[in-house]
Assembly symmetry: C2
Homo-oligomer: 258 residues x 2
């Protein structure tokens, strides 16, 4: 299988760097082909702007989504964006690896999604009708591919408990796992989370590495998170609210998991 | 009062640009002093890295939080970071204005927080004991200041309902409002959200502008979101899980609002 790892950490000599090296090697040992988009090393252009469109008239106001649509449809995207899109087409699985900063991914990775996820590629795909509201949330260009997050955080596991002060880790990752991965069609397997990174010693590092290895070995075997598909009856269209009989009375992110 | 607006949109001739112009004027008309950090116009350095620390030995591995602590404590932060920190010290209120991209703020604004929110400034503040786990979640350098989000999205309001497919808007904004604003001590008033931006005509724009004006006029009158304070008995320390008697049986982000 082909695995794309999108990786964001500013220092190679770090826990993230060590886990990245390990993950690449383990996947290769298992017979997979691996590409790494090491965003800091690539000096990835983080900020979405008018320079992302080639041969653009400078008179018209720049419109992030309409300009993206035009550029994608007409082969006028910045070359660095096209290269990353080709990697996504090639990949059978996408792994995002990052340290959690302020309860989300680093800016450089957010900017990778903003620029690579073009209109016509990751959104704005498919027809809109009374029974189908675009190819999204379970359908789309990434259908049939898997995705997984590897994330590190300085916080304690209990701080991210169901009743922990930071909010549950599943909910913190929902905008990414549901909104950025399941949205264009990825099957998202549960994340691999490393807590309390400042308390990492050799013994704990070895256990962490082994646990990650196990998750990589079973990347194609683990059941994806059972997010509800948009166009299969669970939601009213076009309101896109859950039908009353599903997760009756429940609100919040967890209602969107079957 | 002093108001800092941190603003991120790549095109001035846009709905966001028009709302930003309006907000600045309205606040000034009300007698407030306003500064705008227009991140795209400033060409804000989005990516946190070792260049954020002056006079840094290049031999040692770069550690995002420990290097930030050292630089903040010793006056060795990059000058652009210090300028933004001074604006935060000066401000009585912070307004974040941005288009929602992939269920969060644009990368350029995320990078503003990652770099400006130094260790010792926005986190890593205060003592840790059996009854007090740092000055955070209701205490910290931003205590006594207010914060508000102005956000635009192409999606329909129903898609962000309590049972809407994107998840509730309050939950999508929780990592920002609770995790990035309440965390260092801001009182966070409810967000001003503009939905379905592609269907904006003159009539709707005027109504939107008027509604925003009303919110700006009452910025100091509206009750903040009642997030639970960390060090006042609602949470076990150091586990930081909600005591059983609070929001009994409830899980998810909403449990952290009284």
């Amino acid at each position: 299988m082909n695995v794309l790892i999108v990786y964001a950490h500013p220092e190679r000599r770090s826990l993230n760097g060590a886990l990245n090296d390990f993950a690449v090697q383990r996947l290769r040992d298992n017979g997979h082909t691996v590409q790494v988009s090491n965003l800091y090393e690539m000096n990835w252009k983080t900020t979405l702007d008018a320079n992302d469109v080639r041969e653009r008239s400078t008179d018209a106001p720049f419109h992030p989504s309409l300009d993206s649509k035009h550029a994608f449809a007409n082969g006028l995207q910045s070359r660095d964006i096209e290269i990353e899109q080709d990697k996504l087409r090639w990949a059978d699985a996408l792994i995002l690896q990052f340290p959690m900063w302020w309860f989300s991914m680093p800016a450089i990775m957010k900017g990778w999604f903003e620029r690579v996820y073009a209109y016509g590629f990751a959104y704005g795909v498919g027809e809109h009708s009374d029974t189908h509201w675009g190819d999204r949330y379970g359908e789309g260009m990434m259908s049939g591919k898997r995705a997984m997050i590897i994330v590190t955080t300085g916080g304690w596991e209990s701080h991210y408990d169901a009743r922990g002060i930071n909010g549950p880790m599943d909910d913190i990752l929902f905008p990414i796992q549901h909104g950025m991965l399941f949205y264009p069609g990825f099957d998202v397997v549960p994340p691999f989370v490393v807590y309390r990174t400042s308390k990492m010693d050799e013994t704990r590092f070895e256990a962490t590495r082994d646990a990650l290895g196990e998750r990589l070995d079973t990347l194609w075997d683990n059941a994806p998170i059972a997010y509800r598909r948009q166009n299969h009856g669970d939601y009213r269209i076009p309101q896109l609210t859950l039908q009353d009989e599903h997760a009756a009375g429940q609100t919040g992110f967890a209602a969107h998991v079957e």
